[in-house]
């Protein structure tokens, strides 16, 4: 394998294989957004344990570290290993495309990322999954709802990204 990166077809295909093996070996489908609920619950529990216990959503998605939370942490470590091994690790506070359009200000980017994060996760939990849970795991099972979710992810994303980068300003 030459070069720092792999073809997205190869890396993607191997990811699909990884999903199949994961389901076969440990019965687990990929997903990520439920972990944000569990970790948010764990943090809230520090301040108001009884209140967290009273919320029905946290009764369904119990705040604890389980398979998927470890999976999501593993993604960070795996990406770190890949970046180190190919010497592509680089501290970047403002993505180049963003900087070109909106300037190099870190705070501006951080605030928009924060806001985008709130909206994205609220939407993912309402939809019942994110591009991993619906997009990859769900569509690979040919779930009707997941197919619809994936289309809606892209429709929403195309709208907001193009509004952000429309000409003028």
């Amino acid at each position: 394998m030459k070069g720092k990166y792999w073809s997205p077809y190869l890396a993607g295909g191997l990811s699909g294989l990884a999903l199949v093996l994961s389901v076969w070996i440990s019965g687990k489908f990929f997903g990520a957004s439920t972990s944000f609920v569990r970790v948010a619950g764990l943090i809230e529990k520090v301040f108001a344990p009884e209140y967290v216990a009273s919320l029905s959503y946290f009764q369904a998605k119990v705040p604890k570290v389980e398979w998927q939370v470890m999976f999501v942490l593993g993604i960070m470590v795996g990406s770190f290993v890949a970046a180190l091994s190919s010497k592509t690790f680089q501290i970047v506070w403002v993505p180049p495309m963003w900087a070109e359009k909106f300037g190099p200000g870190r705070l501006k980017r951080a605030l928009w990322a924060f806001l985008g994060g709130i909206i994205a996760m609220f939407g993912a939990r309402l939809a019942g999954g994110c591009p991993s849970g619906h997009g990859l795991s769900g569509v690979a099972q040919l779930s009707v709802g997941s197919l619809i979710a994936l289309v809606c992810f892209f429709v929403g994303g195309i709208i907001s990204a193009n509004l952000f980068y429309r000409k003028r300003r």
Partner: protein
Amino acid sequence: MSLFYGFITGVVFGFLLQKGQVIRYDKQIAALRFLDMTIVKFMLSAILVAMVGLYLLEGMELIKFSLKPTILGSVITGGLLFGLGWGILGYCPGTSLGAIGEGRLDALSGILGMLVGAALFAQIYPWMQKTLLLVGNYGKITLPQVLGINPWIVIVLFWLAGVLLFRWFEQKGW
């Protein structure tokens, strides 16, 4: 043991996401702006491979499917909301952690925002249960079931569509 498997699986997936260059804001937004289809190539390749493997293993009764219910009200509203936020953040929940792993630290505030979003949803969930989560609930359904045809026909059609799409991307230099 489940925790260990989760971690290892995550490491493998994170490694591949980084190698495929899909955990960058620039790549994710470039797809949404029709400039570069790297993330679509990655995602669709993963889906096409997984589809075959999962249906094979399910057919041999070696695995069980885990379908999310198709609730039109919440899937469509939530999906569009997710997309709107994603187009601003430029990372999805899984890739945001991968972004940190390769040093893209603007993902940190995105992760904080996503934790807030998850907490907000936990607050409003009882109300959603009485509203959007009741609209158009068709239960756990798959495309072959709805069409009443053999799943392998659907899989072959997905592969055909995928290959044609990939060819088109390459011709356009996307």
